[in-house]
Amino acid sequence: MARHSISLALTGSGGAGVMTAGNMLLDAAAASGCHGLMTRSAGPQIRGGEAAALLRLADFPIDSHDDRLDLAIAVDWENVQRFAAELALDKQSAIVADPAAGEMPAAIAAKGARLLAVPLKQIAKSCNGRPNMVALGVAMAALGLDEGFGLKAIDKTLEGRDAKTIEASYAAFRAGLAAGAALDLDCRLARGQTSHPSHRWVSSGNHAAGLGAIRGGIRFVAAYPITPASEVLEWLAPALRRVGGTLVQAEDELASINMAIGASFGGVPALTATSGPGLSLMLESIGLAVASETPVVVIDVMRGGPSTGIPTKSEQADLAIAIHGLHGDAPHLVVAPLSVADCLFTTQWAVHLAESTQAPAIVLSDQFLGQARAVFERPADIAFAGGRRIETAPGAGYARYALTADGVSPMTLPGTPGGQYTADGLEHDARGTPSSRADDHTAQMAKRARKLDGFDYGRHWAEIDGEGEIAVLSWGSTAGAVREAVARARAQGLHVRLITPRLLLPIQPARMAAALEGVRRVLVVEQSEGAQFHRYLRAHYDLPKSVEVMARTGALPFRPGEILGRIAAGGAS
């Protein structure tokens, strides 16, 4: 029977090429009209080392892995025990493995999955190909995907290689298809309605964020490489050059953020991207952007913490630093994308908010959103009204930090005669002259808060959906699993609300109160051992009496099923 969602893993040691095969499988599935998601798990080695490509393919939009794996294809077993915990195999799962790879490790065997032997290496050798291409064929056969899409994916990946190599890959792939067809596997994927193929995209969140930045108008980027944010930068470097912008690799994060602020002071919308350690280093100067009222966007692709932590794993534990990490009272913006695809929209929106309010905006993405590759509909290119309020003809009394009603003061750009002023991180009066007077401090503090509190963030502030007395509150990448859990709960007849703020700062008390209207029980789901999101909610919003919290490290991502379990447990009402 064809199934609506199939999850599978391809595992192998360094050099086995399981990531390449995984990406090709996702591309082939996307081209054939499926939805899908792929993440990777890897060991600590810089190159090679054991790795697993984790894929989920479905005939409906997905943003999360499923509860369990249907299938694992092991090219070899090397060190697989290191991430055995991440392979959700069970007695219903099937494992396709090469008998030549030796015995199944105990950590895997213990899961009780059904073992099917396929001599991947031998088949590959017989056609001068590589075992990963055989594995790709096995997988495509198991899923019931058309051969043609596999061949196209091979063409795309091997573009420019010699005909012999390509032929060998074709052959290995086809041999895999044949071997897979012969297996007794229950992994055939159903085919739902597909959108117009030209609207379907495949991308990581990091690349999507890059495009969002450019759509938003970013034309200057300064940054320092860091896992898992580097792909934002590596995508932007050639892209900016194409559209006439600049990317500089700075000497460190202190320089990155200041270069971005300098460019923005010059009138060019500017961005930097980093992860937790780099964000920490930028905080002093993000505060400078607050005080000097210079728009700037900082993408933080969160990883496991604290300190250097686990650079290759996801976690949602930079929420607190993003909200509270500036010294002094420093009003600023914090937003978080709600899916891989939403990295595009949210980044573009962040640019718009920063520019419109002349404040720094932190975008909290994470390793999952940033590095997962997903299939999604092309996000529409939204043209936001507003943007930076620029004074092109300043009068004699021009005051850069004038106390306007909405708190936003028109800004002159260098080059504008008569608009000269000095941007300052010291407290200042309306003209920008440093001042330690009580009245200036009070007035400027109020103005900086007012411009953010009074801005109309519209419906984009959150994704809110459904009715009922139970609400599940989550944010960022966790929203994916929550969304699916809520859908399943509804399918079971439960009335559940989904509240997922995209705008985390400034807080939106009236909107949140409206969203929570009538809710009697709240379930908070987040990937932070310290329950940072729950603390944030408590601090800033009025929650109903009954609050349950699912908060844990990013070590093991949430599965829709366990969230559903918690919803259902107390959710009979």
């Binding site: 591309d27 081209a31 193929p197 030209s198 379907r200 995209w201 495949v202 991308s203 690349h207 999507a208 495009l211 450019i214 759509r215 200057f220 300064a222 892209a239 050059r241 194409r242 559209v243 006439g244 912008g245 600049t246 500089v248 700075a250 000497e251 460190d252 202190l254 320089a255 200041n258 270069m259 971005a260 602020i261 300098g262 923005s264 002071f265 010059g266 009138g267 060019v268 100067s285 505060g287 400078l288 000097s292 299939v375 092309r378 290119d381 260098p414 080059g415 005669p417 008569g418 608009g419 000269q420 002023y421 000095t422 941007a423 300052d424 991180g425 010291l426 920008g432 002259t433 440093p434």
Partner: protein, 274 residues
Amino acid sequence: MSAAPAYVAKDYKSDVKPVWCPGCGDFSVLAAFGKAFAELGLAPERVAVISGIGCSSRIPAYTRTYGFHGVHGRALALATGLKLARPELTVVAAGGDGDGFSIGGNHFLHACRRNVDLTYVVMDNRVYGMTKGQPSPTTEPDWDSALSPGGTGLRPFNPLVIALASGANFVARAFSGDPNACAAMIVAAIRHPGFSFVEILSPCVTFRPDQRGWKEQVRQAPVAATGDPARAARRLMTDDGFNLGVLYQGDRLPYRPPPGEGARPADLEAEFAA
């Protein structure tokens, strides 16, 4: 030849009253900025003076150009971002020895190496003035202070040597006691393409009253500027810190980001298609 100059020095002076102590060397540097910009005929709105934190770093607010008084130590990073984004502006970074060589040392190194067309003026008074008298990287090892009783015991930096070693394209020294000579150095620095570094010895009369003696110590450098880094290094490493003038003038091409290719954002979308 006899046409009136487009601007005069006072066109660059704002109406903000400096917080500096009477007699502080930085007053002369401010005057030299005005003279230099006037000499170059720069429209005030096309100049940006960028600084960090310190007494000397207060200078942007006292000029009538655009300015950015950033955080401590990051002036060069701000200035680099601005110049790369707006190459047509004249961007001058300015500040103190603590700001530039202590907390800001890394940006100094990398700005020299990057060789963006900026001018960097450091008002070196061999002390942290703003925080009331602590030793800086250029302070003499035996200078006594509350934080380093009896002196630091550390050999001071020669910032010009560091500038040269890390790739600055123009290296000069001036003394605030001679504002005209300071202005001339700044003019030459701004004119020279790439990263130009000017150290201005600018006494702190409050915490280093001994620096009043500098006017007897400074002298015009006995030989002309060289374009050979190795020779310049030899000269600077044996110099006592009081030779004034342009000491090195290189010919490296300034860094400019590659030009754009005229694409529209929508042109970037092709690669995303499934």
